[in-house]
């Protein structure tokens, strides 16, 4: 237990020190991207990992929130109003998603969320009077919480880090809670859960709302980071990318989506500077993960670690037995 606390403390210090041990604004920005994509992946993981509901339309939710923030700011409102409107609309959009897609599970759920995501993409692309079409919406400036400007990369990084830690803590509390246990129950045995007196649909609906809230939070960070929102941010590739973050890191684990976000963002923004066909590399990495650790990087590494540990123990046991 104490070893775990020490590990947490070291990680936290390392995260806080990022702007000092990483030189260059570019890499600090990459770190910010990893963090808000990690929040996005944590949100999707609530559904994919803990509810057993795979969504391929989450980029649409990100889009609605980001456009809402952009549009409200463009209309002359302040940052607080813009963020609140964006979060409320993002969660409301998720509620509509949930009502429509929770009629099904499995493939049906995937297809309905996919269709909804595509509809939102189509609207973003074609409803030019509101979204600006292909030109998107430009934002000007970032909010200044408590009078601190977030314009510098490291200031924005710290703001993102705080939000990320709060989101991570919220998810950690949720998965240990009775409602979290009930959600995992509906993933494994929905019929039994119903027979035990649980309202399966309502439990899934609340999980959807939590997932939507995390997605909306990451969308606000995303749009303030890029200062720009266009239909590209919410196409099917974007939905698939965040799903790959969850699956490659390990669905249904707390740290998996974070590791997945790290992997995808690093390959996309850092490795792509050296390798032109970085998409191919990302594909190859995913194929390797699927072959070697089908359960994802975090649970897979833990399995291999335990295996190696046991082997080492057995070897030392034999060595002691010999003389």
């Amino acid at each position: 237990m104490s070893a775990r606390i020490i590990a947490y403390a070291i990680t936290l210090v390392a995260l806080i020190a990022v702007p000092y041990w990483i030189s260059g604004d570019y890499y600090i920005n990459v770190a910010s991207q990893i963090l808000f994509y990690a929040i996005f992946a944590l949100g999707l993981n609530i559904l994919v990992g803990y509810a057993g509901l795979v969504s391929l339309g989450h980029a649409g939710l990100l889009g609605i929130t980001a456009y809402a923030a952009g549009y409200t700011l463009q209309a002359g409102f302040g940052h607080t109003t813009a963020i609140l409107v964006a979060l409320v609309l993002g969660v409301a959009a998720m509620a509509i998603y949930a009502v429509l897609s929770l009629r099904a599970t499995g493939i049906g759920f995937i297809m309905i969320t996919l269709a909804l995501g595509e509809i939102i993409w189509g609207l973003a692309y074609r409803w030019i009077s509101i979204t600006g079409g292909d030109n998107g919406i430009n934002l000007h400036g970032r909010p200044e919480p408590f009078g601190i400007s977030l314009d510098s990369p490291s200031a924005f990084y710290y703001a993102t880090l705080v939000v990320f830690l709060v989101a991570l803590a919220a998810v950690a509390v949720f998965v240990r809670s009775p409602l979290g246990a009930a959600l995992m129950g509906t993933r494994d045995q929905p019929r039994r859960m119903n027979a035990l007196g649980y309202h399966v649909w309502a439990i899934r609906f609340w999980a959807c709302l939590l997932s939507g809230l995390l997605t909306a939070i990451s969308a606000v960070l995303f749009v303030y980071y890029t200062q720009f929102i266009s239909p590209q941010a919410l196409d099917l590739t974007a939905s698939a990318e965040v799903l790959l973050m969850v699956i490659s890191g390990g669905a249904g684990t707390l740290l998996g989506p974070i590791v997945g976000a790290c992997l995808v963002v690093v390959v996309k923004s850092v490795v792509s500077g050296y390798i032109e066909r970085w998409n191919m590399l990302l594909g190859a990495i995913f194929v390797a993960i699927v072959i070697l650790m089908p359960e994802g990087l975090v649970p897979g590494t833990m399995r291999l670690w335990r295996l190696a540990w046991r082997k080492a123990e057995r070897r030392s046991g034999k060595a002691e037995a010999k003389p």
Binding site: F174, Q189, R191, R192, M193, A195, L196, G197
Partner: protein, 245 residues
């Protein structure tokens, strides 16, 4: 007042009549056995009683309270619990967690997203007590995937009993058990107090007959014979339908 009253219950899947005008009247504390050949509609009848299937016509009452239109998820809250013929448990979790989920199902705490479930000592202790009742307390922390088939059957029963039901529906609780395991489950069922009314579907006649006070024989979705143990066993229609000669 009857514990369970089923009146003129009908259900068909397309042209297949799986339940035809079934009437059942189970008194409080009674041990009722439902028998019938494969495909007689026994499990379908259970699914209608628990609300997993909606009847085409007819009504179901629990202690005089009409529950025909009550959604299946509300029925455990009214005192109805069931076990499944095909074991339906949570394979990734421990035995204790399985029973805790059963208890949580009836507690308003199931909606709480903020507290740590493992620290809710009263609910965990309650689950341990339920496991003690079925003789599994010593392996409470074992993952379900590492338990034997007989132990899983007992977890099924422990989960149903943990909910403190007034009506317990047992769907083939002896299916697939060894002789020793069968005896354990039999002892367990005998130890359940009389304030629990039990309806059991079972094929295994030697244990089931000993358990039952009254027997209902179903065939092609219809009640063919109903009566005391002796009456049903002696009835020539029982031999014809169930024993085949």
């Amino acid at each position: 007042m009857s514990a369970l009253t089923v009146t003129d219950l009908c259900k068909s899947f397309g042209g297949l009549h799986v339940t035809t005008d079934v009437n059942l009247d189970v008194g409080p504390g009674e041990r009722r056995l439902i028998i019938g050949p494969n495909g007689a509609g026994k499990t379908t009848l259970f699914n209608l009683i628990t609300g997993e299937l909606t009847p085409d016509s007819g009504s179901i009452a629990l202690f005089g309270h009409d529950i025909t239109r009550v959604p299946s998820r509300r029925r455990p809250h009214l005192g109805m619990a069931r076990t499944y013929q095909i074991i339906t448990l949570f394979p990734h979790d421990t035995i204790l967690h399985n029973v805790t989920l059963a208890l949580l199902g009836l507690s308003p705490m199931r909606w709480n997203p903020l507290i740590d479930m493992k620290r809710q000592s009263h609910i965990v202790e309650h689950a341990r007590a339920a496991l003690d009742r079925v003789g599994l307390a010593h392996i409470a922390e074992r993952p379900l995937s590492q338990t034997s088939y007989g132990e899983r059957r007992r977890v099924e029963i422990a989960m149903a009993l943990a909910q403190n039901p007034k009506l317990l529906l047992l769907d083939e609780p002896f299916a697939g058990l060894s002789i020793d395991e069968r005896r354990d489950v039999h002892q367990l069922l005998l130890s359940i107090p009389r304030d629990v009314t039990m309806v059991m579907i079972e094929h295994n006649m030697d244990v089931a007959l000993e358990f039952a006070e009254r027997i209902t024989l179903l065939h092609f979705g219809e009640v063919i014979v109903e009566g005391t143990r002796a009456e049903v066993v002696a009835d020539p229609r029982t031999r014809e339908v169930y024993l085949g000669h």
